[in-house]
Symmetry: C2
Subunit: 343 residues, 2 copies
Amino acid sequence: MGSTQARIAIDAMGGDYAPAEIVVGAIRAQAELGIQALLVGDPHPIEAILKQHNALDQLEIVPAESIVEMHEEPLGALRRKPKASINVAMDLVKKQQADAVVSAGHSGAAMAAALLRLGRLPGIDRPAIGAVLPTIMSKPVIVLDVGANVDCRPKFLEQFAVMGSAYSQYVLGIDNPQVGLLNIGEESSKGNELALRTYQLLQENSRISFIGNAEGRDVLSGRFDVVVCDGFAGNVLLKFAEAIGEVLLNIMREELPQGWRGRLGTALLKPNLRRLKQRIDHAEHGGGLLLGVDGICIIGHGSSQAPTVFNAVRLAKEAVDNRVLDRIRVQYQKTEATATDGE
Amino acid sequence: MGSTQARIAIDAMGGDYAPAEIVVGAIRAQAELGIQALLVGDPHPIEAILKQHNALDQLEIVPAESIVEMHEEPLGALRRKPKASINVAMDLVKKQQADAVVSAGHSGAAMAAALLRLGRLPGIDRPAIGAVLPTIMSKPVIVLDVGANVDCRPKFLEQFAVMGSAYSQYVLGIDNPQVGLLNIGEESSKGNELALRTYQLLQENSRISFIGNAEGRDVLSGRFDVVVCDGFAGNVLLKFAEAIGEVLLNIMREELPQGWRGRLGTALLKPNLRRLKQRIDHAEHGGGLLLGVDGICIIGHGSSQAPTVFNAVRLAKEAVDNRVLDRIRVQYQKTEATATDGE
């Protein structure tokens, strides 16, 4: 394996379907994405699953001794369990034995472990979780923060805008990303205190292309490439978006097969409906990118199954290949030389 | 016309499609809902539209001299224009010549006019806008606030919970409405400062059935009958929900007719797809209910066309018929006697 292959440390023990679905997703990712998967966790069950899939000896296993359980308070658990899989995975990045971490386990623990073991990037006060969503145009939008920081100060959102722009430009390949501030109206006079003060900062920041407020209805319009918000509003929005796909599929299942024409039409449309479901289904997305720590971390859904894990690994690979951390670092080297943005 | 008919004052001049679509919606509402519509606005264009639809002399016109334009600052405009249609409509309720107001005009102006002319209900610090959304169960959920108050204190949300419960029980007919607090996790320890402090108040309030936090994914699950949040998160959620229906319909238009099977299947499904579209389409909903002022006010979308106006009038009629204001008043008479909820 060449040294240019991204090495992705995958927390094999984290998530509702761990380790089986995590390992299966990792096998597929290594086979199809040209990455090197490092499975972090209890070797015995991992080996058993690899064996089942004729992949023993193909994927590397890095032993870990425990896991952070979903009900545990993250900081305490991370301290009590230095050899927990998420700690071991982060240490691989810290020691430059891996380029990125993927975890579908306790998301609070993953964030805390990243902060504690990898630290923040220079210029960043608070890391944010970015979620990449499809829009009605043929390009995605990155929304951040979707859950890392529930109470934000304006300068945090400003940093999210810079990090999101770097991600949009260098990973998603969008030229001159258009930044929006999630808000309740288009006018600059609209919004809560946080939005009003953030609007000013974004407008004055010359390193991003801020084009104004994005209302809820604008998020998926394609008019914005980056939408910034506090982690409370972002999390509500993301979880709502994920669920509404299921709601709409339910309505379709109820309405489409009604009557004989409906049953026949639905039968004829089966392949198209499957493609439609894939486009709507959140399982296809993969997870959020933790931006602002000194390492690439993908935080997946707790409910991740193999296809989601595969997509999470792809997200990680894209972030590694496009050197997103260096891109953010450069922004803040520039900042210190050319501007002093206060809050 | 009997005195039990609800008399609905309709701001004929407010909204992107005023007065034509407003008047057409009002004509249909009076014909089908057994209400008495009072069209408030400039008599000449209103009469012309009524004439076109052979409804002259059937609907009452209450003259108004001006309107609050969308770009105007509400308070100043309301003061400068005492005879603006929204002011005249509110005065009809104040003078008990109408039972409710429906407006698709400047929503800030409608709220301000309601507050200034009708005042608040006893016990209510801030009125909220409630939006009734369909869930995957066969019952709706009321989400409030969806935009009246962008920065909230915990006791405001507590009042929203009481008002939302009264609306759910007496207008939507839901027995013992289950109340949720919009939040980013299920556990009581999750959330921003506002959510953490509101959780306590809701838990201690014996006049509602608080069952815990509602995440974004739970809003449309049917598990909750009332979801409370600040007007910022609620507005973002509502506008996102409205837009995502359109996003889904776009994806369907792209995916379904692909291939000959797709074209045939889509043709066969035409009536079912139309029904599906109706269930998804926000135009069917009507508008938000302004709860907490001493009068029934429905605040419609600026983009309301006749079917939306019809639905808004129906919402108003249901609120009038079920005496929702009296139901809320009773809650706060009880409060003062039996409890002293601080913030």
